[in-house]
């Protein structure tokens, strides 16, 4: 594979941009997590978050959460101007502690979900979602 000087430069800049682009987890997201968990530790297992690796448009991104035995699951978009997305509270007639919805992402970022289990413990899952910019904007 051969690259011209110009290609190399463009690709190099692309790599730099990609490493910088993902938004940092905001202080607001940290606050939201702290108020949901009360600062408790979060397990890495017990909660599945499903979101596309690449979203074709940030306006409508399908996400699903599933945490058997949870009483509630909070979803956060850590790179949005306000990170809150939704909190699902499951009643006794929920067959599974799972839900799917469609969300808005302001840019490439981590989507985070936190589940509160019936025994008072917490679990956390996150997924990086790349939000692509359109071709023409037309």
């Amino acid at each position: 594979m051969e690259f011209s000087r110009r290609d190399t430069l463009a690709l190099g800049l692309g790599a730099v941009a990609l490493t910088v682009l993902p938004f940092q987890v905001s202080a607001a997201a940290d606050d939201a997590i702290a108020s949901f968990t009360g600062g408790a530790d979060m397990a890495d297992t017990g909660l599945t978050l499903t979101a596309p690796e690449i979203a074709e448009n940030g306006n409508t991104v399908p996400v699903s959460v599933d945490a058997p035995g949870a009483v509630s699951i909070m979803v956060l978009a850590t790179g949005n101007p306000t990170p809150d997305v939704a909190t699902f509270n499951f009643g006794p007639l929920a067959a599974e502690q799972s839900a799917s919805t469609r969300i808005r992402l302001a840019g490439t970022q981590d989507v985070v979900a936190i589940a509160k289990m019936a025994d008072g413990t917490f679990a956390r899952a996150s997924q990086a979602v790349k939000v692509t910019i359109g071709g023409c904007g037309g």
């Binding site: 409508t60 939704a86 009643g91 808005r104």
Partner: protein, 109 residues
């Protein structure tokens, strides 16, 4: 009332007693985030569905808090147990105080 709001739900007509079923819901709503500006540069005020609840014969299935990051025409899918014949009640709460609801009966069979 926000204009053009219409709730839709998809529930099977029958289920076995104790069966888990998938329910899909969608309400046509702008979900104005409060982040956008109009042509004159003024902020368009937030106007969203902020809560969605589902009950079956008076008992809770799901109660969701929704934020402006939920897409236009909010779509929510979840799983419910049907212990007996009865009625699902779906309720959406609008920022402007309006409440939209819809009911669906389900038979055991």
């Amino acid at each position: 009332m926000a204009s053009g709001v219409k709730p839709r739900v998809k529930v099977p007509k029958t289920a076995a007693a104790g069966e888990a079923i998938t329910i899909k819901t969608l309400i046509s709503h702008k979900m104005e985030s409060g982040q956008r500006k109009d042509k004159e540069g003024n902020k368009i005020p937030r106007s969203i569905i902020n809560r969605f609840t589902v009950e079956f014969n008076g008992e809770s299935v799901i109660d969701a808090t929704l934020e402006p990051a939920i897409s236009t025409n909010p779509y929510i899918q979840f799983e419910a147990i049907v212990p007996e014949a009865g009625e699902f009640k779906f309720t959406w709460y609008d920022d402007d105080g309006d409440v939209y609801d819809q009911s669906k009966k389900i038979a055991i069979g």
